[in-house]
Amino acid sequence: MSTLRRREVVRTLLAERGDLLVVAGLGSTSWDCTAAGDHPLTFPLWGGMGLAAMTGLGLALAQPARRVLVVTGDGEMLMGLGSLATIGVQRPANLAVVVIDNERYGETGMQETHTAHGVDLAAMALAAGFASSVLVRDAAAVDGLRQSVHRAPGPLFAQVKVAADKESVVLPPREGALLKNRFREALLGASAHLQ
């Protein structure tokens, strides 16, 4: 069992984020990203389970000059495994998918996910065609991962094993249209509302 704390991992990943664009998978990773600082260029999902990586792919293809980071959970990623293959075929150099893997469904009673039974998401991403894929178990590697998110040629995948602790719930705004509009305005300017 990993001793990494999910809040510290996500806070490190989002430190000095610069112009990074972030998609947060629903549930705990969304609260983690919000705890690190609510930001207009973070799009926290409140639904659409299984679609975080594909939302990141759409953003990465639309904005090839920007780096895009998807932060999601193991249960959310398991629901969209096919998207690993789709990303592997598209090979966007500016996309990173980081799975915060507590081996649990955190919002529904901490039931074990398949990763608790040996399913290796990092190996799956590599087999699907990601440019690189790493399994992270220690804090020193998390800072290296943060630098890779900003600089390494993608698509990059990381599976970060974290402790199965329940953290406080830190909520971003809920309304989908608001989250979309503030993201587009921050990225595209006020003229985005005239598109």
Partner: protein, 152 residues
Amino acid sequence: MPDAGHKRLIELCQADARMRTVVMSTEEEGVGLATGAWLGGAKTVLLMQSSGVGNIVNALGMVRECRIPLLLLVTMRGEYGEFNPWQVPMGQATPEVLRAMGVIVQAADSAGEVAAHVDAAARIAFGGYAAAAVLVSQRVIGIKSFQEQSAR
């Protein structure tokens, strides 16, 4: 997502330098892709067979809540003269399933209607930040039979 009814359209899209085609492993992925692309300022259109509509139901809730423009071009199976009984349940339910999730549905029953319906659906989707689907009938794309399938 490929369908025989989309074959020529897919080829045209792949040949068009102004478009990027993304093949997916399931239709649901396309709703995520469309959401991310719109966040980044790009427009998308999703091509799928009517069976794929069953795969995107929960995802449609996301585009509705976020008011993401979503244009769906759906070629029908199980709708008119279908030879495969396994296609019939989803084909018959397709318009109701889409409407239940708030998608604006425009059915094209003849080839002459398709272009105008696609134009209208694109206007209402991108003009109104809505989800809109054009259902292209089997009367337009032809009715498959086992004999035709095995001759291919």
